[in-house]
C-alpha cells in the first residue's frame, strides 16, 4: 500500500481496499525500519497519526470523508505544528513546541490528513544538500552516500523512499525543485503568494513559498487544492482566486509553446544530463508541443542577486532568535549582550551564521545601495527577462540542476560552490513564478529532473503539462532499489 501514490490511495480508501489506520501503521513500520539510516524525519508523530487515522476512518464510515481524508503525509519541520516540536533543524528551536498550527497544517488537518511527522531539512532552510541540519544529514534513498538535495531533503527522501504519500516543503531558491530532481520525484513551488506563509518559519520573506513533494503531478494537484488560497493572517498571501488544480490535468498539449533558455544549456551543464533533458523535451514535441529557444539575458546574475537578498532578509527574520521569549538560551549569561551573542552563536549552525553575517553586511550603512538596492534592481531585470520570454512561449523548460546528486561532504570547502547548485532554479524565486521539477531520466542510475516554469498563477497549466508527460512515460514510477 505504501508504494501507491496519493491519488491512488485516495481512491483505494474510498473503495474500502484498506483503512487509513492500516495504511498509517504500515508507513510507521517503514519509518521505524528506514529512518535510522535515511534520517528523513526529525520527529515521528506515532500517537497523533494513529488518532488522526482512526478519526478519518470513522468519518468515512459516516459518509463524511473528503478526497484527502486519511491520507498520511509529512510536514517539513519549519511548519508550526501545535503541540509538536518545530525545530527548523536547528539547535535554536530544538526545545520549541509550537503553540499553534501553521495555516498549511490547519488546512491539511481540516481535510482529514494524517500527519506522520516532521521532516529533516537544512537548518532554517539554508542549504542545497540537507547537510546543515542540527540533526545530521539526510541520505539519498537512491544511493546513501549521496545527498538528497536541500533544503527540503527530508521531505524529498521521505517521498522517494515511500515513507509517506506526500510531503509539504518550502522553496526559497530551489529547495523543493532541486531535491525533487536529486531523488526522482515531483516537486512543485507555486507562485509567490499562492500559499499562506502564516506559521511557516521565515527565511527570506519575499522569496519563501510552500509547496509539495509527491510521486506525481496528479498527487501534487491534490495537495495544492488543500494548500492554496488567501489568508488574512498573511498579508503577502495573494487574494487571486484558486481553482481545482486537478480539473485540467487531462488537457492535451497540442499547441503548447515551450521555451528553452539558451543560458541553461551552456557550459557547466553535465553533457549526460543535457541529453536526458533534450530527450524529455522531444517527448513533449511528440505530445504536440512546439519548442523554441528563448533568452534570459540576466540569468548569470541571479545567484549574485539572490545571495544578497536572501541573506539580507534572513538577517532580519532571524534577529528574533535572542534567547528571551522562546528557543535556546545560553547557560549563565553575564549580561544581556552576552546572552544575545552566546545564545545566537551557540544556537545557530555555521551556514546560518555565515548568511546572517553576509545579510547584515549588505544592509549596513555604506553598503545598502551597492548591495541590497543593486540586487533588487537586478531582480527587476530578471523578472523582465521572464516577462519578455513569456510573450513568445507558454512554459519554460530546462534542467533543474547541472548534475545528479553529489556525495555527502563533498562541497564543504567553499560555500560558493554550494550556492551554484541553484543556478537554474534561483531566478524563478526572484521573479515569483511557479516552477516544478519532474523526473525525466537517469544518469548512472541517479535521477534527473526537468524544470518547468510557468507564468504567474499558472499552476494548473504546469500540472497539466507535467501530468501529460507522466501519462506517456514512467520515470516518475521509478523508485530507489526498483
Amino acid at each position: 500500500m505504501t508504494e501507491l501514490g496519493l491519488a491512488q490511495i485516495s481512491r483505494a480508501l474510498a473503495n474500502g481496499e484498506f483503512s487509513s489506520l492500516e495504511l498509517t501503521q504500515e508507513y510507521l513500520r517503514q519509518i521505524a525500519s528506514e529512518n535510522g539510516d535515511l534520517n528523513a524525519f526529525i520527529t515521528v508523530c506515532e500517537e497523533q497519526a494513529m488518532a488522526q487515522a482512526r478519526a478519518a476512518d470513522e468519518a468515512r464510515s459516516k459518509g463524511e470523508a473528503g478526497p484527502f481524508s486519511g491520507i498520511p503525509i509529512a510536514h517539513k519541520d519549519l511548519f508550526c505544528t501545535k503541540g509538536v516540536r518545530t525545530s527548523c533543524a536547528s539547535k535554536m528551536l530544538d526545545n520549541f513546541i509550537s503553540p499553534y498550527d501553521a495555516t498549511v497544517v490547519e488546512n491539511f488537518n481540516r481535510a482529514g490528513a494524517v500527519v506522520l511527522g516532521k521532516t529533516n531539512m537544512d537548518e532554517f532552510a539554508m542549504g542545497s544538500s540537507n547537510e546543515t541540519s542540527f540533526y545530521g544529514p539526510v541520505k539519498n534513498p537512491w544511493n546513501r552516500s549521496l545527498v538528497p538535495g536541500g533544503s527540503s531533503g527530508g521531505s524529498a527522501a521521505a517521498v522517494a523512499a515511500r515513507l509517506c504519500a506526500g510531503a509539504t516543503a518550502t522553496d526559497t531558491g530551489g529547495s523543493i525543485r532541486q531535491p525533487a530532481s536529486f531523488t526522482g520525484i515531483t516537486g512543485l513551488k507555486p507562485t509567490y503568494g499562492r500559499v499562506s506563509r502564516w506559521g511557516m518559519v521565515a527565511f527570506a520573506s519575499s522569496l519563501d513559498q510552500a509547496g509539495t513533494m509527491t510521486q506525481s503531478a496528479e498527487d501534487a494537484a491534490m495537495m495544492l487544492n488543500v494548500m492554496a488560497g488567501s489568508d488574512p493572517r498573511d498579508s503577502t498571501c495573494s487574494e487571486a482566486p484558486t481553482e481545482d488544480y486537478t480539473a485540467s490535468l487531462d488537457k492535451p498539449l497540442n499547441g503548447l509553446k515551450i521555451g528553452l533558455p539558451v543560458q541553461h544549456f551552456s557550459e557547466g551543464l553535465n553533457s549526460d544530463v543535457e541529453k536526458v533533458i533534450r530527450d524529455a523535451v522531444a517527448e513533449f514535441e511528440k505530445l504536440g508541443a512546439t519548442v523554441k529557444e528563448v533568452s534570459l539575458d540576466n540569468s548569470h546574475l541571479s545567484v549574485s542577486a539572490y545571495y544578497v537578498i536572501a541573506p539580507a532578509e534572513a538577517s532580519a527574520n532571524l534577529s528574533r532568535y535572542d534567547g528571551v521569549r522562546y528557543g535556546y538560551r545560553c547557560e549563565n549569561p553575564s549580561d544581556l549582550e552576552d546572552m544575545y551573542k552566546r545564545s545566537r552563536s551557540e544556537g545557530f549552525g555555521a551556514e546560518v551564521k555565515r548568511r546572517i553575517m553576509v545579510g547584515t553586511y549588505a544592509l549596513s550603512a555604506g553598503y545598502y545601495d551597492a548591495y541590497y538596492i543593486k540586487a533588487q534592481k537586478i531582480r527587476r531585470l530578471i523578472k523582465n527577462d521572464f516577462q519578455r520570454a513569456f510573450e513568445d512561449v507558454d512554459v519554460i523548460m530546462g534542467p533543474t540542476s547541472p548534475h545528479t546528486a553529489f556525495p555527502i561532504g563533498s562541497k564543504n570547502d567553499d560555500p560558493v560552490t554550494m550556492y551554484l547548485e541553484d543556478i537554474y532554479t534561483i531566478a524563478v524565486n526572484l521573479a515569483g513564478l511557479p516552477g516544478m521539477s519532474i523526473p525525466v531520466g537517469l544518469v548512472n542510475n541517479l535521477p534527473i529532473g526537468l524544470q518547468i516554469v510557468g507564468k504567474d498563477f499558472a499552476e494548473a497549466q504546469l500540472l497539466n503539462v507535467a501530468h501529460q508527460f507522466q501519462l506517456a512515460t514512467d520515470w516518475h514510477k521509478r523508485a530507489p532499489g526498483k
Binding site: F96, I97, P99, Y192, G193, S206, S235, T236, N298, H300, L301, V303, S304, Y307, V308, S319, D322, G323, V324, R325, Y326, R329, P333, S334, D335, L336, E337, D338, M339, Y340, K341, R342, R344, S345, K353, R354, I356, M357, V358, T360, Y361, A362, S364, A370, I373, K374, A375, Q376, K377, I378, R379, L381, K383, D414, P415, V416, L430, G432, L433, D456
Partner: protein, 95 residues
C-alpha cells in the same frame, strides 16, 4: 574583494553573534568569497532600473483597525526560558 577582520568584528556585533578568533578568520575568508560572487552584479548598468522588492510590486495590504486577536500571553509564556508574573526575565543590562 576581501573583508578586513575589523569589518567582521563590526558585523558580528551588529548581528549579535560571538565569533572566536578562528571563526573570525574563517568568516573573513568565506565572506570574501561570497562578496566576489556578489560583485558580479556591478557588471551591469542599472541606473534607470527601479528596484523590485516584491515579485508583483504588491504593496502592504491594510485592514480596518479593529481588535481581532485575544491575549495568549500565559499560554505563550510557557515557552520562555525564564519568566515571572507575566514578565520575561533576562540578565541585567550593563550601561
Amino acid at each position: 574583494m576581501s573583508i578586513a577582520l575589523s569589518d567582521v568584528e563590526n558585523i558580528a556585533h551588529l548581528a549579535r553573534l560571538h565569533l572566536s578568533d578562528q571563526e573570525k578568520e574563517e568568516a573573513a575568508k568565506s565572506m570574501s568569497n561570497i562578496l566576489n560572487l556578489i560583485d558580479q552584479m556591478q557588471s551591469v548598468n542599472t541606473d534607470e532600473v527601479q528596484p523590485l522588492a516584491h515579485a508583483f510590486d504588491a504593496v502592504q495590504r491594510l485592514r480596518v483597525d479593529e481588535v481581532t486577536e485575544s491575549n495568549h500571553r500565559d499560554e505563550l509564556q510557557t515557552l520562555a526560558p525564564e519568566s515571572e508574573e507575566g514578565l520575561f526575565l533576562v540578565p541585567k543590562v550593563i550601561e
